[in-house]
Amino acid sequence: MEMSKWECTVCGWIYDPTVGDPTQGIQPGTPFDELPESWVCPECGAPKDMFEELG
């Protein structure tokens, strides 16, 4: 199943689950829903609830 990408509504940074987020120890293959609540946008610091799913 294709995992969806999510975009930060503040700075436009895109979370791509196939890449993960090495700066916060997020392994490639981690879906957005499984990111910890403490995870934030690596570029502007926005929390998870400020992201929108890309259609």
Partner: protein
């Protein structure tokens, strides 16, 4: 245990949140010099462009801090720091004492002196208040000059242009983003920005702000006159390190910290734009957040986390331009090798900087696919064929 965090930007807020989680019974106080709750500073560009309100870039309400039992004080500027009594005094006269203190005081916008300045139509951009003032002035202006061709200057220029102003950018160095781009990269970026109507003047040694009464133009040392009812200076940052220095802490450019982000006083830590680690002041959100996390861990349990530096990564947050610079992009000699691809016609530029063993030390990508290309810097394995990667 009383934890006191002085500074309400990303370093301070991150640390306060981490302290709250790590030490549920401790008192956590967060002192913020600004009068509005914590907002995401990079979002101010969209506020200037008129695309977002301040509330759209404010992630937590004051109620959120109350619910998490963080004593959050706004308009709370620290004016005195007493390392012996372990206390601070605010401009309101209030006093707080601490067992562990985090200095996350941030930085101010640097503003070089220009002939004809200061004046009411000349701004720097650092705070929400600055953004509001620039927006108010922009509404009365048709032309703007942005002084500084770095990240913030270019983003501000595009934001003002989005509002309908005619914008020129003036840079002292011979190229844009002088620390990240070489001449060719700068030339490609200049041609892309030129398509939006943003005029670029690089290699300008000096300028003067001119106008009887309000500002009406900026005159360059070349003699060229740029119409401007509004000017914004984006010339870098200056650490708010005066107060820590007066208190007796070891300060160079910023407050010097060790690998545990501990200052020269064992009860005082520093993180974010005010902190200097191994001679570096990062000035990025990522570094501020990482240092804030390390600070919280060590304030709670001494020696429990080490800071090892942050790979610099910058993305130009400008509508219609994809530019990502990551890692070491300007080695200027030494054992690193550089590989480039450039196409001014389509506005595409890529550069790879490689270690002798082929691992990626840094990259620059402008144009389509820039974000994916920039992410390559995290890849641990060596690059076999750099030319193929540049064209891929």
């Amino acid at each position: 245990m009383r934890f006191l965090v002085a500074g309400g930007g990303v370093a301070g807020v991150t640390a306060a949140q981490r302290l709250r989680t790590a030490a549920p019974n401790a008192a956590v106080t967060l002192l913020d010099a600004e009068s509005v709750p914590y907002y995401l500073r990079p979002g101010l560009i969209d506020v200037i462009a008129g695309r977002k309100t301040l509330s759209a870039i404010t992630p937590f309400s004051r109620g959120w801090f109350r619910d998490h039992e963080i004593d959050y004080r706004l308009a709370a500027s620290v004016t005195e720091l007493d390392l012996i009594r372990r206390g601070v005094k605010l401009d309101s006269g209030d006093r707080f004492t601490y067992d562990r203190l985090l200095l996350a005081l941030g930085a101010e916008a640097a503003c070089p002196r220009f002939p004809g300045a200061p004046r009411a139509e000349l701004f720097t951009l650092r705070s929400a208040l600055d953004a509001n003032e620039i927006v108010a002035r922009a509404a009365l202006s048709r032309h703007a000059v942005v002084v500084g061709g770095g990240w913030l200057g270019l983003e501000t220029a595009r934001a003002l242009q989005t509002r309908g102003l005619r914008v020129a950018v003036v840079e002292r160095e011979p190229r844009l983003l002088p620390r990240q781009l070489d001449d060719e990269g700068s030339a490609v970026l200049a041609s892309v920005l030129g398509r939006f109507g943003i005029a670029l003047h690089a290699g300008v040694a000096g300028l003067e702000l001119v106008g009887r009464g309000p500002l009406d133009s900026v005159v360059l040392s070349t003699g060229e006159r740029l119409p401007a009812e509004l000017a914004v200076v984006a010339a870098g940052i200056r650490c708010r390190s005066t107060l820590p220095a007066q208190a007796g802490l070891d300060v160079a450019r910023g407050v010097r910290v060790d690998a545990f982000v501990n200052t020269s006083d064992c009860s005082v830590f520093a993180a974010g734009d005010v902190a200097e680690w191994e001679g570096r002041v990062y000035g990025t959100v990522a570094a501020a957040r990482e240092q804030g996390m390390v600070a919280a861990a060590n304030m709670h349990e001494r020696g429990s986390a080490e800071y090892r530096g942050t790979i610099p990564s910058n993305r130009l947050k400008v509508l219609g331009v994809d530019l990502v610079c990551a890692g070491d992009t300007q080695p200027e000699g030494g054992p690193l090798t550089e590989h480039r691809f450039s196409d001014r016609e389509v506005g595409s530029y890529r550069k790879l900087v490689l270690y002798p063993d082929g691992r990626i030390a840094g990259s620059v990508a402008l144009g389509a696919g820039a974000v994916e290309f920039g992410a390559l810097v995290d890849r641990p394995e060596p690059v076999g064929d750099p030319e193929a990667l540049l064209l891929g």
